[in-house]
């Protein structure tokens, strides 16, 4: 029996795929649980959230930029 400290992320599967891609570049995932859950290193959470935000932002169209 083992207990591993981490952060449980609950997300939709699209976000999960983005996270897995990010993981290839700079690993932070401890365990891939199922389609909606991931366990990641606790001290990486802030960075992951920021990078995910930036990634999602790329896919939005803004009226104001024009």
């Amino acid at each position: 029996m083992r207990a591993i400290k981490g952060v449980l992320l609950t997300c939709d599967s699209a976000v999960k795929q983005i996270l897995l891609t990010m993981n290839e570049k700079d690993p932070f995932v401890i365990e891939d649980l199922d389609d909606y859950h991931l366990v990641i290193k606790a001290d990486e959470e802030y960075r992951v959230r920021r990078e995910l935000e930036a990634e999602l932002e790329k896919n939005t169209y803004s009226l104001e930029a024009n």
């Binding site: 029996m1 207990a3 981490g6 449980l8 401890i30 649980l33 859950h37 606790a42």
Partner: protein
């Protein structure tokens, strides 16, 4: 017509929500309340804060010299009104106005004699304030000046709240007000040393001025307790102010030390006006004199578009209508037209819209993803934005059903959801159990503690919260120790 009959029942049965001050009063000791009831003005004010049934009961009991059997009173109550009657009695018992008894019904003697005195006049307790002698050298402040002063003070506070942390430098309210805003959780210093409006602060802006005022005063009362001020003095002074005449000057001579200290605070909030800090006389403003009445606490906000129109047609814009008058038009293309020249309202809108054009009486803006996200990241919720737009919708908008375009409402909510695509919870992943039985045994224990966030029987692992870890670990250790 069905619509009309609906309105009629509304008039007959007005929904009475208890005044926010009542729970505070109920939490006070009987001793405090009895001391408060020695002042006729306090009794009258509390009487005005109570609901219609309580007022009716008090009036019935007021002129009786002795207690009456409770059955006599309840004989007046129709079966369907029983619950309302019982609730009213509970409120009165909580305030120690009428002691809770199933046999006899009577008013607290102190309350009774004070309220009688308030109604019939007489006595020289001075609890309604002592008017200052007429000053022939200087003219006393007239009502317009007082209204302007109160409005200016009050809007300074609200304006400071909305424009905080927006790079603007609005006029700062006094240190005491700032402290109060911080203490009440309406503003905090999350980002550096700059005071910023909080989520509850935004909700606060949506309330009516009367509720806002009591909200702050309640906080003031809590602070007064900590500052070792005598609560009876503080409360009775507020009640005294609420029974004073607007436009009359009162003398500070009969006030206690506590109450003189309060004058300074209340001046900052715009409740009283004084020529100078050392002045021996003060005038209550409309904010103060309407504290316990149902009339609007602020003079007609002459800056909204609605009342401007009323002025043009020559009618006097009466406060409640004008202040409550909506000014926002929201179109399905996310455009917002706000008919206002009030900097405060503009600043509130600026929290969640992108401004496009500004005209003397009109502000045009857009609800955009960026502007809404900015608001969301400040702790303002989508629901709050929607409810603000609903309460301040222009009369023209009221013809629409639903009031706000559904597309826009949905989009605001979607923008909020978009920010929450990722939920996280810190904890421990338990895996590699020796056997299925082992796994189930530990999982059952963890479930008992309600700490399981995720589980999978196939993978034979589960995720528990951080708080539950020490218990679960202890459980496993005891188990392996025993085995």
């Amino acid at each position: 017509m069905p619509v009309q009959s609906l309105q009629n029942t509304d008039v007959i049965l007005p929904q009475h929500t208890p005044h926010p001050l009542l729970p505070f009063l109920q939490s006070q000791s009987q001793n405090t309340l009895t001391r408060l009831y020695q002042r006729p003005s306090s009794c009258l004010s509390i009487f005005r804060l109570l609901g219609p049934i309580e007022r009716q009961l008090i009036m019935n009991l007021l002129w009786l010299e002795s207690a009456i059997p409770a059955a006599t009173m309840s004989a007046w109550v129709m079966p369907e009104g029983k619950q309302a009657y019982d609730e009213a009695l509970a409120v009165m018992a909580g305030l120690h106005i009428a002691p809770n008894s199933t046999v006899k019904l009577a008013l607290n003697p102190t309350f009774k004699s004070s309220l009688r005195q308030a109604i019939t006049g007489g006595g020289n307790t001075g609890s309604f304030g002592t008017p200052a002698d007429k000053d022939y050298k200087r003219q006393s402040a007239n009502i317009e000046n007082l209204d302007a002063y109160a409005l200016e003070r009050w809007e300074t506070i609200l304006h400071y709240m909305v424009s905080s942390g927006q790079g603007q430098n609005p006029a700062k309210p006094s240190q005491g007000v700032l402290y109060l805003l911080q203490r009440s959780g309406l503003m905090n210093t999350a980002h550096g040393a700059i005071l910023q409006i909080t989520s509850s602060g935004f909700q606060f802006l949506l309330h009516s001025p009367h509720d806002q005022l009591w909200n702050l005063l309640l906080q003031y009362l809590h602070m007064a307790e900590e500052r070792q001020m005598d609560l009876v003095e503080v409360l009775s002074f507020l009640f005294m102010l609420s029974t004073m005449d607007l436009g009359r000057e009162y003398s500070t001579e009969p006030l206690s030390e506590t109450q003189k200290a309060m004058l300074e605070d209340l001046r900052d909030y715009g409740l009283v006006w004084q020529r100078k800090a050392s002045s021996k006389r003060f005038s209550p403003t409309r904010l103060a004199t309407t504290l316990t009445s149902s009339s609007p606490p602020l003079p007609s906000s002459h800056s909204t578009g609605g009342s401007r129109a009323a002025d043009a047609t020559g009618t006097v814009a009466l406060s409640s209508g004008a202040a409550q008058q909506g000014f926002i038009v929201l179109e399905t293309n996310y455009r917002i037209y706000a008919y206002t020249d009030n900097p405060l309202q503009t600043a509130v809108l600026n929290l969640f819209i992108t401004m496009k054009y500004r005209f003397p009486n009109l502000v045009v803006g857009m609800l955009t993803r960026e502007s809404v996200r900015k608001a969301l990241s400040n702790g303002i919720s989508a629901e709050q934005i929607i409810s603000y737009l609903t309460t301040h919708a222009h009369p023209q908008m009221r013809k629409n059903n639903p009031l706000l375009p559904v597309t826009v409402q949905d989009q605001i909510r979607l923008w909020e959801l978009e920010r929450n695509r990722l939920k996280s919870a810190e904890g421990y992943l338990y895996k590699d159990f020796a056997s299925q039985a082992d796994y189930e045994y530990v999982l059952a224990y963890a479930k008992q503690l309600d700490v399981v966030l995720w589980e999978s029987a196939i993978k034979r692992c589960f995720f528990g919260t951080l708080e539950g870890h020490s218990n679960v670990r202890g459980f496993i250790e005891r188990r392996t120790g025993a085995a």
